[in-house]
């Protein structure tokens, strides 16, 4: 039976050699190698639940009046888009489960990518010959951020409208082209042409998912073609040690896929997320206090809030409106620093060879210290975005908090740099001492034995 199937396939596709190799592709065993897989499986859940949601969502800003089963909104004027998502939440059987699972999956997707990225960074897995894998992964991360932003922007609830206003403000703030670009994309001054909803929709459900899917395929293809990295092995062996894709890896990986899906559907069923019926429909003249975006855009809110209030002007010409710094330049710096890192590091260290073996973070104090400082910088700005919540919950005044953050984003990364470097060197030293004492002990024992 199996023999016949394989023979049938091979005769018609010539796939046998490829299958033979693929089934025995080796995966090194380490838990941290599963982070990327969690992202992949979140993406699968996203596509599955997302397709379901498109069966009911109406990407239209046409005005309608609510008449569904959620009493507090009865008779309220709202867009077809917002109404259809309220209907998905209350009147489509299992609609709320799919919608909440979709939202949780988006959060987990980005989280898994970010943690995976940090693993790759701190172990040096991005080095030659895997720079392209790194670059594609980064582009994927930033595409994902846009995809998530569009996802909660198309709903047309109050929070999505506020988020779009900020996006519009950031687009307008780009030097020279800002005004033209925002009008070009939105079609009219904010809130824009009604067709803007359709533009966001097609990007959210087709263009960006296809782009992300393509990048996933390239990313995985590159990983497979250069094989996995692995941690250094005792005895300096350079061969790849691992368990084969089939049979060992398949049940493990599928198990992880089902576990990821299980977690997401349990969250979707039991933990409320983005209860849009509480925010109400978006009106340009409405805003709400304590609005927070999804976590993965929190760093941009922090960036926008931290910059002191000034526009760069030359006479009457406004060269750089303020949101540019926190909303555009800041993420651009993060992206570019990470993109060029593999080449920058190579320039500094002068290493030109192939690196299949991973570093322990302590063995690369410079990289580890830089990475720790850089991520501290981003995370601090992220937390600055929640200063208003801290004010509400802990009663710490907002203005002094912001001054503390403004100082901290400059000082703390430097401190972290030197501390992390120190820690790495100390860890190395402790290991050397242990190693030396073990050697001395062994020598002593040998001497005793000969005597």
């Amino acid at each position: 039976m199996i023999r016949q199937a394989v023979h049938f396939l091979d005769e018609r596709t010539g796939a046998a050699p490829f299958l033979r190799k693929g089934l025995r592709y080796l995966f090194p065993d380490h838990w941290s190698f599963l982070l990327g897989e969690v992202a992949l499986y979140s993406f699968i859940v996203l596509v599955a639940t997302g397709v379901y949601l498109t069966l009911f969502f109406e990407p239209s800003l046409a005005e309608t009046h609510y008449s569904g089963s959620y009493e507090p909104l009865q008779g309220l004027a709202m867009s077809e888009a917002y109404k259809s998502v309220i209907d998905i939440s209350f009147d489509v059987k299992s609609g709320l489960l799919m919608r909440q699972t979709h939202h949780w999956a988006a959060n987990l997707f980005v989280a898994a990518i970010v943690v995976h990225l940090m693993r790759v960074f701190f172990t040096g897995a991005f080095r030659k010959p895997r720079e392209l894998t790194w670059v594609v992964g980064l582009l994927m991360l930033f595409t994902t951020l846009l995809e998530g932003y569009l996802g909660y922007s198309i709903i047309d609830d109050l929070l999505s409208g506020m988020g779009l206003a900020i996006g519009y403000g950031v687009a307008e703030s780009l030097p020279v082209i800002g005004g033209y670009l925002s009008l070009g994309i939105w079609g009219a001054p904010f809130p824009g042409d009604p067709a803007f909803e359709s533009r966001m929709y097609i990007f959210h459900v087709l263009i960006l998912p296809v782009a992300i899917g393509t990048m996933i395929a390239i990313h995985l293809g590159l990983v497979a073609s250069r094989h996995h990295t692995q941690f250094k092995r005792a005895g300096g062996k350079s061969k790849l040690l691992g368990s084969p894709a089939f049979p060992a890896q398949v049940p493990r990986s599928l198990g992880l896929m089902f576990a990821t899906a299980a977690l997401l559907f349990l969250l979707g069923g039991l933990v409320q997320i983005n209860p849009i019926w509480e925010w109400g429909p978006y009106e340009l003249y409405l805003g709400t206090n304590g609005a927070q975006p999804d976590w993965y855009l929190g760093w941009l809110i922090g960036g926008l809030r931290l910059v002191p209030g000034f526009d760069v002007t030359i006479g009457e010409y406004t060269l750089v409106p303020n949101p540019f710094w926190g909303g555009a330049l800041f993420p651009l710096i993060v992206l570019v620093v990470l993109l060029v890192w593999p080449w920058a590091e190579r320039r500094v260290t002068g290493e030109r060879g192939f690196s299949n073996a991973l570093d322990r973070p302590r063995d690369r104090p410079g990289r580890t210290a830089f990475g720790a400082a850089f991520f501290t910088w981003v995370v601090l700005i992220f937390f600055a975005g929640s200063a208003d919540r801290i004010y509400v919950f802990l009663d710490l005044d907002y203005v002094p908090q912001l001054w503390v953050y403004r100082a901290a984003v400059i000082i703390l990364p430097l401190v972290v740099y030197f501390v992390a470097r120190r820690v790495c060197l100390e860890l190395q030293r402790a290991e050397r001492i242990e190693h030396d004492s073990e050697e001395a002990e062994a020598e002593a024992r040998a001497e005793v034995a000969t005597a």
């Binding site: 049940p251 559907f265 805003g287 909303g327």
Partner: protein
């Protein structure tokens, strides 16, 4: 249950027996032989049956609307079913599937022979061409222009080369201020320590330049620039409700409850917390906004109703390059 277990065990033995017919020598095998783990097999079977049970539960909950917590139950049943499959796979992978530690070489980093041949193929392919640069230039011209032509239709999404619409607001001298139901504001209705949202009568209130915040301040708190004399009749002031930083609505009004120690009144945007001083013409007091909140001069007509006394003091909405070149227009 025990009998079911024995029955399943027997079944699995039978299957194993079936496989034994094609027995290899151990040296011949590609996949190394694993140890039998009949108990683990039973557990895996049990987990898969639980998964089936939970999935059936999902269908039942879906089919009958009589469950009070239908949404939660749907999540639990589907989540548990997936979790049981996950557990079965992971346990099966650990105990039933042979785990092999294999070694292999990393692939050759490069293929010098093929590389050289690729280069050769490309180079030799243009052997018959004499005007390389000319052809390349013409090709680039065709490709580039075609690319521009392909992108040109995308410009239909908006006015790409005209920022005039950004300066527009519906406010002009004489236009009445109305509330969200279209009722005109009377000056005497405007109280201290609260704020009102006003719209231009007879205009689209969904446009960026439309909504205003209206507040009333005591005369002491009003220190408008000299060229704005008369803009605040009876201490009533009107500003654009759209933050000049990133376009959110100014939804907060901070009024001091004890003026000796607290900062003065401020209109605050809840997105990035820029406070604007309504007494001084919308000055930014803190936060990231780089431009004053545009002010609308007010009039009180003979009926005691609020009307615009002119156009906005500046362009409304988030700043763009050129935002300061013109005042707000109607």
């Amino acid at each position: 249950m025990r009998r079911l277990g024995r029955w399943l065990l027997a079944l699995s033995m039978l299957r194993r027996g079936g496989g034994d017919r094609r027995e290899h020598d151990d040296d011949d095998r590609i996949v190394s032989a694993g140890d039998p783990a009949p108990r683990a097999e039973l557990v895996v079977v049990g987990l898969l049956l639980l998964a089936a049970l939970s999935a059936a539960g999902f269908v039942v909950v879906y089919a009958f609307d009589s469950f009070s917590a239908q949404h939660q139950l749907l999540g639990i049943t589907l989540g548990l079913s997936l979790a049981f499959v996950a557990a079965a796979l992971i346990l099966g992978g650990k105990r039933l599937i042979v785990s092999e530690d294999l070694e292999e070489d990393y692939p050759e980093p490069a293929h010098p022979q093929e590389e050289a041949e690729v280069v050769e193929i490309i180079e030799e392919s243009r052997g018959g061409i004499t005007r390389k640069k000319l052809l390349a230039g013409a090709g680039a011209a065709a490709g580039g222009t075609l690319g521009v032509a392909a992108l040109a239709p995308a410009l239909s999404t908006g006015p790409w080369f005209d920022t005039d619409p950004l300066y527009e607001t519906p406010w002009e001298r004489g236009r009445r201020l109305v509330d969200d139901r279209g009722k005109p504001f009377r000056a005497e209705e405007i109280a201290f320590d609260t704020f009102y949202t006003a719209f231009p009568e007879g205009a689209d209130r969904g446009q960026l330049g439309a909504p205003l915040v209206v507040v009333r301040l005591v005369p002491d708190a009003i220190r408008l620039p000299p060229d704005r004399a008369g803009w605040a009749p009876e201490g009533i002031l009107a500003y654009s409700k759209v933050c000049t930083h990133a376009g959110c609505a100014i939804a907060l009004y901070r009024t001091p409850t004890f003026s000796a120690t607290q900062p003065g009144p401020a209109l605050v945007c809840p997105c990035h917390y820029s406070p604007f001083d309504p007494g001084t013409g919308g000055d930014v007091k803190f936060g990231p906004a780089g431009r004053n909140l545009p002010q609308l001069p007010l009039l009180i007509d003979s009926a005691g109703e609020l009307r615009a006394g002119g156009t906005m003091s500046g362009a409304v909405g988030p700043s763009w390059p050129g935002v300061r070149l013109r005042k707000g227009e109607s």
